[in-house]
Symmetry: C2
Subunit: 165 residues, 2 copies
């Protein structure tokens, strides 16, 4: 059965594909899995029909036969586990790849989202201008840590951190 | 081989077990897996030896033979995948449980961490008092969405969201 995902009917970034449906679409395209897209409005996302699929009123969701999933990280992991080509076969390499999925969602993304939230919701507050450089620095710090790891000469450390040092 | 995890040598909450090593310890205790704990200071967390294990200079890490992992969500998932009792056997139920793991780390936790960050790092800023209620509301909104899902009468929706509505 062809899975159906949801995406913004009208995106804050004018639909340029930067919302959280993007990694799900990317994973599906990588493995050659056809899929349908159902676009939902911001009003629809807060209605019971969508909240039954996504308790936090967000996109994306993923529906396939009797399976309904939410959370882009979990959806991508499900696609990776049910199609060849996205995760290594070696069990340790696979665990390390999944560690980087959690890092992307719970360590790298949050300071970026915090900055976006300030721009969207606190632009009219008195502190906005003074606080924005603090948020920029938090994003730079996190991306700097990521860059330092990616720059380590042996080039394999993204999926293979040394066990001891 | 008995795994080794890292935890704060000196915790901001005076070691009461609320740091991110807690879910890892909890998972290990649930499955009856013995483990060693290596305590690291804040200075040690930023040194090359620890950064090789944890690129963002955080705890916890997990080492077992030639496998080194970071990210508490990924570590808990690894423990769940290599021991019986934490994840359902049914493949769809398992995918739904993992969706809730990503939800915990990338949807429920971030507004709570944002509030903690403000308390730790912005307490001396002019906007601190005015901004704190906004952060409280963001936490309440997210926890309210979670509570509404958990309160659905059939009681099974944490692991079993309806596929359609």
């Amino acid at each position: 059965m062809i899975p159906t995902i949801t995406a913004f009917a009208s995106s804050p970034d004018r639909g340029r594909g930067l919302a959280r449906d993007m990694p799900v679409r990317w994973a599906l395209e990588e493995v050659g899995q056809p899929y349908d897209v159902r676009l939902v409005s911001f009003a629809e996302m807060k209605e019971p029909a969508h909240l039954a699929r996504q308790p936090f009123g967000q996109i994306p969701t993923y529906e396939e036969s009797d399976l309904a999933l939410f959370e882009s990280g979990a959806i991508v992991l499900h696609i990776a586990e049910t199609h060849a080509g996205l995760l290594p076969d070696d069990v340790n390499a696979r665990a390390r790849a999944i560690a980087w999925m959690f890092a992307a969602k719970s360590t790298v993304e949050p300071p970026i989202v915090e900055r976006e939230t300030a721009i969207l919701l606190e632009k009219d507050r008195s502190w906005y201008e003074a606080r924005l450089p603090i948020l920029d620095d938090r994003v730079r710090k996190r991306l700097g840590e990521l860059s330092r790891r990616l720059a380590i000469p042996n080039g394999s450390t993204v999926r293979s951190a040394p066990a001891t040092s």
